[in-house]
């Protein structure tokens, strides 16, 4: 199996990145599917990455524990800020979560004693193996697919289309929104924790505005009709730069062009091309 080994030597980071990006895309799928435009997942990813990284490096914790706490802490933070923040809707929610993300990034940047500040956190052991990522992705996908097919998924779609009507049908909309926000935070944190343990080095700027925008693009590009959309989005955004490697200088340019072309051709994401939404024309109302 020589070719497998040499393949892995060259492409391991890429494959693992595909996995963690799928997790990130799934984390944003959850909130987008409810019609919530939250951009906080990059910050949650950062919290997860630093938590897990610090625990492994400084506290010598076993990998699984680091992963666990890497998912738990962002979830707790999400729980804390979720209640007041989710009262906002539409672009205001996006902006508030964006501001939150910046606050997190700056806090990490300035807590030099703990996090290493701008110099980042170095020397994180490369503990993530392909089956950790595969397991995480597989499990998450399974859970989300089952959720989507259940009454919880139906309620989420209903919330996306008309929050007030859904609330008046006896459903606790606030609780549902908080649930997807917290779960999304945990997933993003897990992705960050896994990612930290194969990139060896993390720094605050990796979890800022650019990352948040990238995660959002994955979600929108793939399509929010189904968790599979997130998978498509995650794979595409990760692999596209690689596929275009041969183009050298023009790579980011073509990257951008492809993004534009896809959105123009299928504004509701690639999943929508494969499984067009039923019903009358026009997007669901999102406040």
């Amino acid at each position: 199996m020589d070719w497998l080994e040499s393949f892995w030597l060259t492409y391991s980071t890429l494959v693992l990145s595909v996995g963690t990006n799928i997790l990130l895309a799934l984390s944003v799928y959850l909130t987008l599917a409810c019609g919530l435009l939250t951009v906080a997942n990059a910050a949650f990813m950062g919290i997860g990455a630093y938590t897990a990284g610090l625990l492994t490096v400084h506290a010598g914790m076993p990998f699984l524990f680091s992963l666990f706490f890497g998912s738990l802490l962002p979830a707790l933070v999400a729980l804390l800020i979720g209640r007041p923040t989710l009262r906002l809707s539409g672009v205001y929610l996006a902006m508030a979560t964006l501001a939150f993300g910046e606050v997190v990034r700056i806090l990490i940047l300035n807590a030099e004693g703990i996090t290493g500040g701008a110099l980042g956190l170095n020397g994180i052991p490369q503990l993530t193996r392909w089956f950790d990522v595969a397991l995480a992705v597989g499990l998450t996908l399974y859970v989300l697919l089952r959720l989507a097919r259940s009454r919880i998924g139906r309620t989420m779609r209903a919330i996306c289309q008309d929050e007030t009507a859904t609330e008046l049908m006896g459903l606790n909309v606030r609780a549902y929104k908080l649930f997807v926000f917290v779960l999304g935070g945990a997933l993003a944190g897990l992705a960050g924790a896994l990612n930290a343990h194969f990139t060896y080095f993390i720094s605050p700027n990796e979890y800022g505005f650019e990352r948040a925008v990238e995660i959002l693009a994955m979600g929108v590009l793939g399509g929010t009709g189904s968790p599979w959309g997130a998978v498509i989005g995650g794979v595409l955004i990760t692999l596209l730069p690689e596929l275009l490697r041969g183009l050298g200088h023009y790579r980011p340019l073509i990257n951008g062009v492809v993004l534009i072309v896809i959105i123009l051709y299928s504004p509701r994401g690639i999943w929508d091309l494969l499984h067009p939404a039923r019903g009358s024309a026009g997007a669901p109302a999102t406040h």
Binding site: R146, S150, R151, I152, R154, T155, A158, D162, M169, G170
Partner: protein, 251 residues
Amino acid sequence: MLTLSSVSKNFGGLQVLQDVSLTIPGRGIFGLIGPNGAGKTTVFNLVTGLLAPTAGVIEFFGQRLSGMLPHRVTRCGIARTFQNIRIFKEMTLIENVSVALGSRPQYGALSVLVPSRRFREAERRETELARDLLARVGLADKAERPAGMLSYGEQRRLEIARALATEPKLLLLDEPAAGMNSVEKQQVMDEIIKLGESGLSILIIEHDMRFIMGLCGEITVLNFGRVIAHGTPAEIRASPEVIEAYLGREG
């Protein structure tokens, strides 16, 4: 069963409702009428918890509703439809009703994770319940269609089916006959009479006088946020305040 005692509501400087007292004693069909802007929909919004009263108390079977979150109000047994129909256009009829059934779930959240027999049974039961409700309003044959494809009158009936899914004791209908032709109106009237006979209490906001007079046993009239008259259709027709409120507008 439902009492509003001296309920007032103002938005900033705008006094929308003033000292409104209203009682729905029990079974039957009741009407709430008044010129445009009289505050009728605000009453509904206050009862269902979308708004909080500035003053006064709202009670349902003796329980205070003021301050309760909307979804709790629904679970207490009050359901409502909207003036501009708010169904989920992108979902099928069955799905629309199923969402409403979600407030009384047939299975717990964790069992979602395993495709167990209990889960499948529960989902099947829910689908059946949804179909029954659709049949009740005469939409069973269109169950699998996307809701956006229904005619206006059918959409209104879907809304009612959805409201019924929450097993209400009191049904609030906000202009159920709006935008309909006389055939559709008659259908809706028959629908409402059937619902009334099945033991449901119904409070209707409407502009169509014939509709209201033909259905309701008791009518309350609002004008500029105040109650100006209350009584049987005959009494209301004869009331000078009501006549002035409506004719005064046209003058």
